[in-house]
Amino acid sequence: MKTVASMTLKGTAVALAMSCVACASAPDIPERQMARAETSIEFAEQNDAQEFGPAALERARNQLDQAETAAANGEYEIALRLAERAELDAELALAQTNHEKAELALHEIQESIQTLRREIARNQSS
């Protein structure tokens, strides 16, 4: 009960904060969040996300670009949100990549089992 209450409270706080910024600009450029998004994108790229999670990676890049534009225009709150979304999309691209790589490894080992079975069957018949 306490959790729900605190969540509602949190939600309320967020709503308040949002509504405040919606009406007025944040004071600073969200450098930290933008740097986090960039790092996440780079990390995803290094781990083959371009191959295994291209859509999410593309969304991450686009939103980071937009965040930079917004920041340049002084729209810091918008820049912050875009950077947050860019970071999550980069993380999603990485998660998709890790998942896909695991599936490939699974497929490989299943193939090797099939090959093994065939070889054994051949040895037994000969």
Partner: protein, 297 residues
């Protein structure tokens, strides 16, 4: 106390939001987020594998729904719904990855099991093969023993016939007294020997007989050769009468050419008047020394 406070705050927030903008009827990303979060939360492994992402998604979804319920700004709702959706999607990928990794582990275990089973089968096959060759060796040994037993029995039978082992193989000598003087008729006392010989030939179907007639030196050579042939022939006929295949029997008329003793005494001459029966080997062949040339014939 908490609850009460939050209600008041909610009310205040609602007032603020209401002042800012209006909300569209339906927000796609919120619908999608709501569905995905529900789907992920219902997964039994969600808490263990992607607890953080699921918590973030749930919280963002609650924020979005709260704003939506209170006519929050579209951008705000969209942003929180977006965060909820992406977090839920990340959680989904983590769960799927964990599932794949689990299957990799069990597949590896399966492969190990298959390899071990194959190795065991290979070992068993080797053992069976070894057992088979042991069995083969045993059979061969048994057969060899049987061959020896057969040989011993053969020798015993030949000795029973009073055949003698010579450089011409086993030779059975039928003495003069088994024939009428100057005649080629077997005496009744020879019938038992013929029975035994026939029995032997039936028992050892691979063996053949060489029947040689011999005489002493009295009388003309031609007469002696003819007499020796007649006597050998009498033995041949006696065996054919007992059902022996003539193809297994050979006769030779030796006349007086191969005396056993001196023809100067009557005892020696009697010894020279005889029929010799030579036994072939198991192939039906006679020892090289067995075949003599029938002289004057």
């Amino acid at each position: 106390m908490y609850l009460k406070n939050s209600y008041i705050l909610t009310a205040i927030a609602a007032l603020f939001l209401g002042a800012c903008s209006s909300t569209p009827e339906r927000i796609d990303v919120l619908e999608e987020a709501s569905q995905t979060v529900a789907e992920v939360s219902s997964h039994p492994d969600a808490q263990q594998v992607a607890g953080d992402e699921l918590a973030d998604a749930t919280e963002a979804l609650q924020n979005a729904e709260y704003l939506r319920a209170n006519n929050g700004d579209y951008d705000d709702i969209y942003h929180h719904a977006y965060l909820a959706l992406r977090n839920a999607e990340i959680a989904k990928e983590r769960i799927a990855e964990a599932d794949a990794r689990e299957r990799i582990e069990s597949s590896e275990a399966e492969r190990t099991r298959i390899l071990l089973a194959a190795r065991e089968a290979e070992a068993n096959r080797a053992i069976r093969q070894a057992e088979r060759s042991d069995l083969k060796a045993e059979l061969a040994e048994e057969r060899a023993e049987m061959a020896i037993a057969h040989q011993l029995h053969l020798q015993a039978t030949l000795l029973e016939l009073e055949a003698e082992k010579t450089d011409r193989g086993y030779v059975l000598t039928l003495s003069d007294i088994l024939f009428d003087t100057d005649k080629a008729v077997l005496m009744p006392g020879a019938q038992k020997t013929m029975d035994t010989l026939a029995e032997f030939l039936r028992e050892y179907p691979e063996h053949r007989l060489l029947i040689e007639g011999h005489t002493d030196s009295r009388g003309a050579d031609a007469y002696n050769v003819a007499l020796s042939e007649s006597r050998a022939n009498a033995v041949l006929l006696a065996l054919i009468d007992r059902g022996i295949d003539p193809g297994r029997l050979e006769i030779a008329a030796m006349g007086e050419s191969y005396p056993l003793a001196s023809n100067d005494t009557s005892a020696g001459m009697q010894e020279n008047r005889r029929v010799e029966i030579i036994f072939s080997d198991t192939e039906g062949n006679f020892p090289a020394a067995a075949t003599r040339t029938a002289s004057n014939y």
